[in-house]
Symmetry: C2
Subunit: 353 residues, 2 copies
Amino acid sequence: MKTILLIEDDADVRDNTAEILELAHYRVLKAQNGKQGVDLARKELPDLVLCDIMMPELDGYGVLHMLGRSPETAEIPFIFLTAKAERSDVRRGMELGADDYLTKPFEESELLNAIEGRLKRSDLFRKGFDRTLNGLNDFMEQARGVSALEDLSKDRKTREYGRKDVLFHEGDELRQIPFLVTGKVRTFKVNNEGKEFVTGLHVPGDFIGYLGLLEGGHATETAEALEETEVALVPREDLLRLLYRDRDVSMRFIRMLSQEMGEKQERLLQLAYASVRQRVAQALLQLHDRFSADHSEDLGVRISRDDLAAIVGTATESLIRCLTDLKDEGLISTQGRDIRITDHRRLQKLANL
Amino acid sequence: MKTILLIEDDADVRDNTAEILELAHYRVLKAQNGKQGVDLARKELPDLVLCDIMMPELDGYGVLHMLGRSPETAEIPFIFLTAKAERSDVRRGMELGADDYLTKPFEESELLNAIEGRLKRSDLFRKGFDRTLNGLNDFMEQARGVSALEDLSKDRKTREYGRKDVLFHEGDELRQIPFLVTGKVRTFKVNNEGKEFVTGLHVPGDFIGYLGLLEGGHATETAEALEETEVALVPREDLLRLLYRDRDVSMRFIRMLSQEMGEKQERLLQLAYASVRQRVAQALLQLHDRFSADHSEDLGVRISRDDLAAIVGTATESLIRCLTDLKDEGLISTQGRDIRITDHRRLQKLANL
DNA sequence: CGACCTATTGATCGGACTCAAGGTTGGTGG
DNA sequence: CCACCAACCTTGAGTCCGATCAATAGGTCG
């Protein structure tokens, strides 16, 4: 059950509104002034805040401001209640980051619609969205607002690739961003001697090559299918507009970027000073994490030695020698192209040594 | 002179408004319906768009939607003109990404204020801001809206560090993000054998350690002053709120992150397959780019060999041998701790080979 | 001016790359 | 269904780059 915090000084309005909400099966917390509201919000972390603007003690702007200060409360959807739809009031509120506003007196349906809409949207972004094509459509739909939906779905083409097919080359212009529906894709850069270095492995639910999207629209890496793969092509403008226009999307994006950045930094450190042996151990662990999350322990990871070498950043022969060693020591076992981890703990120890 | 595109079907309103704007020394482009407006916007790329909502041919939402489709026009500030301040209209407009709205009839001062505010803000973000403390304050001021200014400036503490002083360690909680005012700072990670790898070099105008900001608030690297350094401490919440609340800031941030990400990927590729010699050449070129932009060619870059080695990702001795070679070949010259590039072209060739 | 830190050079050693040559696997066509 | 081809995997030998240890020279700061 969702919890809604209602901050309103007028007792009649407060009780009335609360009743409507409770009938709609929300849990309602009531506060009669801003100060009380902020305290309650911090303690209870409601799913949504409804807040009057004109109040004694601390007004609506103040509440919004206070809640914005800490990350836990900053993302809670915030809806203003205002007596008069004063333009300057509303503008100020929106600038401070309110998500919506309602003019008193409001109708029951208005109130519930606004709340439901916001909650749904907030859910979507907080949980992350389904890593499926449906998830993508939901996501885009929500993010664009229902009104702009029609021309979106008709642009949604999917395309199939076979093993070793190239989705795009480094330097290609990206008019459409591939969204991975099924299969696996690797992205890599090639140095001037023709050696490949894998920068990313992608599973269903990933956008591929979004980095290039922001840097002049040209791909910064090559993308290649590792197996039978199906992608949906999302027009670049759609994604860009989402990014420009929607703060939820921007924040998600920023988080994703930061996280990847952290990983890249860690990888740099490893590459600089860790031995091939350690790097192989790490790569194996990460591969298992990413690829065999679903089919538990049985099958291990299936990957070509060349590809694995390009992930570790070493020569194929060196990689193989290392795998053989690990096999002899009983940390892993192989069966044809599959690699299975048999002693997870010792491998971990090796990687982090 | 700034150009403003005015889209309005009512001839009286259009001429009237245009007159006001021209008196205020704006260049005004007039369009009498949405279609014309979009064409004009694409051709002329105005600095700001004023647009009526209710229009024949293509209404205001349509215009906003069309302009949002291409990156060149997506960032142009967009202000709606509406006859009645219908709540649902306005909300829809704001959701689609309008920056502001004015209710007709509006006063001259209202119009000009709204326009000036938006232009100033947009300028700030498009150009990037001054890399100085003043620039920072301007930036924050703009970004928060004038009203919330008072408690900001009083939080702005500056602090001084000497050579080798540590700003924060990896894992520290970052309650305040240092903004570099003068001096130079390096950020680095340490591996389990105690070897350092430099992940970033920072010059005045940089925020340091902002990555940690987004990942649980703990620093992902250590920051250390390379020389006498002064930083301003910006409360973490201020930055976070900016990021949450302001699309201009988010976009800037995303761009910055993407760019750095690109650099990191390039660095990974180099580290994986390039020789120490090539990596040294690259590091030298980058250092010169970043650090000696102001004092042209005279002095070269002053950096300790240990630090340079940690940037390249090699042992100090290996680095020095390489420097000696380059010196013998006449590509660089050294004078005590300073390194000067004498043959830029050949060094470049070496780096990209 | 001396102690300490930093830069440099030398000698040695080992990890990882290259080249080369067999094994395996899987897919295709007869 | 089998044979064959091609792509991929594996092992060996030799070489070289770069790390390490050790010792000396040069600068810098109290």
